[in-house]
Amino acid sequence: MFMLRLAKLRHALLRVTSAVSLFFVSTLAFAEYGFNLQPPVTPIAREILNLHNAIMIVCAVIFVIVFGAMFYAVFAHRKSRGHKASDFDESTKVEIVWTVVPFLILVGMAIPSTATLLKMDDVTESDLTIKITGYQWKWHYEYMDKGVSFFSVLATPRDEIGRPMFSSTGFKAGDAKNANYLLQVDKPLVLPVDQKIRFLVTTNDVLHAWWVPQIGIKKDGIPGFINQMWARIEQPGTYRGQCAELCGKDHGFMPIVLDAVSEQDFNAWLEQEKAMMAAAAAGADREWAKAELLEKGKETYDKVCASCHQPNGQGIAGVFPAIAGSKVATGPLDEHLHLVMAGKPGTAMQAFGPQLDDVALAAVITYQRNAFGNNTGDLVQPSRIKALRK
């Protein structure tokens, strides 16, 4: 008799567990449709997903029990059905139970959470270190001890974003949007798979947060401080994320794109990058023609300056000064050079000296002094920037 009951109980338990695991699986399947966390590609991200699913299920079960009771009362204990009110108003016994039981459930949640957290915070024994620096509104990546570093900025064309009704430039509907709208950059962060990568994150101006959901990392970048985190990516692929801490006007427009490749491909890529950097440095020594400078200048302006000073150089009144007809861009060249290279502390105007190379700086200043009706005719050669840096 007892054995029979036990068998029945086991059967019932099996049914419950299979139902729960079915729920697990279906929540995981939902992930593709944007209901749940994105599919993890690191061990930590997977642990986080499991922790999240488990806790969500515990919460859902508690919710169903408590509100099952409440709605039963709502339907059964109503005056319109002639239910007479009882007058009980306390029970020490049940009150102790529903203080102690939740506490035990919480302890059950705290244990695996603590274990995962301890793993996340262990950044020792890494194979590769990447220093991430947030800028308004782009990311800078430096491969420590590898001699490679670059900026990574939004690559979605402005025409796809469109222009809003209430703006100085007037409404223009955005063009058809590509599949990776707002989640594409000119130069992705390339990383090797199966290596423990340590990230150091800081910023040059305001707070930012570097977040790539699929690798399970989000950490604030704080000027003057360096935060650490790590990831070991298991699958090659492209993973996308965004800045997660409000950092001003274009906070929504500084995505992160990460290309995870095999170690071989990674090393080949590193060599290629070094060669490109050397070629760019060589460009600073030759004389540039005006048309060449203006073309390169417009390219740099649209990428670096236009988000504040606007593509037409008009700026935004009261926040970002205009370049068209400005005292700086039509006044003495030295002051203009100094402002662009050293920035203006306490404002969104950054020091672009350390950010841009000699050619880009020379070109963009030449462009600013000749575009938007600022026809000063001035020409700045990269060699002049190079000399100024010394």
Partner: protein
């Protein structure tokens, strides 16, 4: 014509001077509630701008800089302009009547506490017209971004100072009233729960509003007077601001919800026709929540790079808050259990509160889990979470309170059918607006962005449609309230069959001065 004696009691100036000079708790309560109502619509209009921009991917309505001003001001207006003043308004009307006092303890201070608010609101909203626009660094005004902002940020800082003074004075007045002016026999442990929760809230206000004032003053001196509290280039630390801000900010969350707990604890017993279950444990749970609220602040900052020990401490403490909060929910359900329930509008709002607030409470528990919080932090999951506790929590409790006490205040019954329409439309549109935001956040949409990637489109469309419906529905609320003030079926003194408490022994509407001689409480 009343007798000479009562006529003397009711004497007050008429027209605008009545409201400017009033020291009457009922008049001041009315002023607070109308102010909150106006701010609710101002903040709501800003939410409509936000949702209009997020209706589709791409920029269609406002530029990103103005969008940031809208998110910032929406939060500041709703928190400091709508929810807090509404609760002070309820306290002003109800606390003296519930404890059998003739008025608030400090009536002139009461007048000043209120009249600071319109000036503060003008400063806050005036920032929009300053060069560079209003504050755009989020309601948390984190430096260094808030140091970059234009004059609008200074307006905000001064507005926060003014609001803080108003809140501190209001809190002092409430404490003085509750501790000194209770009717004979009304011991602390016999007070209605609404009075208890307000007493505890008032202490929270006294403790943390000066902290907020301090930290925004440091921000002001960083902006203009050459200090470097938060500037690493001068040896400062931007994270220091966050620690101090959230030392204010977390108790502030409970300032916004504890009076709502009180309201619900009044409404549920009335319509269940059964006493509140576990009165004592309700009081202790409120006290525990208030105490714990001081040691959980860094759970808003898990991603700033806290030491592991710090993260663990704040995770455990935050999880612990689930215990007293759970006790409250269980007690409410037990209050309804085996009652004799009817479902008038206040009861609908109360049940809606318990149900929806618990969703927010459970997502709050999920947010406490540090590793998982790294995925949730600064996403729409958080936005969904705090709207479940603040809209379906605080604001639905305030709406329930208005329906519950409006017949007492005006002497007229509101239109029950319209009230029910208001509840159901609010509840449904609220869920259409905010439930999909959980999914958006989990799928990876950061908060405070004016434009988003294509995979977030469908849920944003839902959310925007829900928000427009939710906004329009509140016009119905305004209509119902105005119509009830102007007339309607006369309310009885007790108003609700199951109502207990001193306020229900007074006529509806109560005379201008009540309880000139204290009632006796057994």
């Amino acid at each position: 014509m009343a007798t000479a004696a009562t006529a003397h009691h009711d004497e007050h100036p008429y027209g605008i001077m009545r409201w400017l000079c009033t020291t009457n708790h009922k008049d001041i309560g009315t002023l607070y509630l109308w102010f909150a109502f106006i701010m609710f619509f101002v903040g709501g209009a800003m939410a409509m701008v936000i949702r209009a921009e997020l209706f589709q991917p791409g920029l269609q309505v406002v530029d990103p800089h103005f969008f940031n001003q809208m998110t910032t001001l929406h939060a500041l207006v709703m928190i400091f302009g709508a929810v807090m003043p509404a609760f002070v308004g309820l306290a002003n009307w109800q606390i003296p009547m519930m404890i059998g006092a003739p008025d608030m303890a400090l009536p002139r201070l009461n007048n000043w506490s209120f009249w600071l608010l319109p000036f503060a609101a003008t400063l806050l909203l005036g920032g929009l017209f300053a060069p560079g626009g209003g504050p755009a660094a989020g309601w948390t005004i984190y430096p260094p971004l808030s140091v970059q902002g234009g004059m609008g940020t200074d307006f905000t800082i001064l507005a926060i100072h003014t609001l803080g003074i108003s809140s501190v004075l209001g809190a002092l007045n409430i404490i003085a009233t509750i501790l000194n002016m209770r009717a004979p026999g009304l011991t602390l442990m016999k007070m209605p729960l609404f009075v208890w929760t307000w007493l505890i809230t008032a202490y929270l206000l006294l403790a943390v509003m000066p902290v907020l004032a301090g930290v925004v003053t440091m921000l002001l001196t960083d902006r203009h007077f050459g200090t470097h509290f938060f500037d690493p280039a001068g040896g400062g630390d931007p994270v220091l601001f966050q620690h101090v801000f959230w030392f204010f900010g977390h108790p502030e969350v409970y300032i916004l919800i504890l009076p709502a707990f009180g309201v619900i604890s009044q409404i549920l017993p009335t319509f269940s026709r059964k006493p509140l279950f576990g009165y004592d444990s309700m009081v202790y749970a409120t006290g525990s929540i208030a105490f714990l609220s001081f040691v959980v602040w860094a759970h808003h900052m898990f991603t700033v790079g806290l030491p592991t020990a710090g993260e663990l401490f704040f995770m455990y403490m935050t999880m612990l808050i689930a215990v007293p909060t759970g006790v409250k929910v269980f007690n409410w359900v037990s209050t309804m259990w085996r009652g004799s329930m009817t479902f008038e509008t206040p009861m609908l709002f109360a049940i809606g509160f318990v149900f929806l607030f618990t969703i927010g409470g459970l997502s709050g528990l999920m947010l406490a889990i540090v590793p998982a919080d790294f995925q949730y932090h600064d996403t729409y999951f958080v936005v969904a979470h705090f709207h479940y506790v603040l809209f379906s929590g605080s604001i639905m409790a305030i709406m329930g309170a208005v329906y519950y006490w409006l017949p007492k205040w005006t002497g007229n019954m509101y239109n029950e059918a319209q009230g029910k329409w208001h509840f159901w439309l609010t509840a449904i549109f609220f869920n259409i607006t905010f439930f999909p935001q959980h999914f958006l956040g989990l799928a990876g949409m950061p908060r405070r962005i004016p434009d988003y990637a294509l995979q977030f489109t469908e849920f944003n469309v839902w959310s925007s449609i829900g928000a427009f419906g939710l906004g329009l529905t509140q016009l119905l609320f305004l209509y119902i309230v105005v119509r009830t003030i102007r007339g309607g079926k006369k309310a009885t003194d007790r108003v609700w069959e199951g109502a207990h408490g001193l306020e229900w022994t007074l006529p509806s509407p109560p005379p201008y001065h009540t309880f000139a001689t204290p009632p006796k409480v057994d």
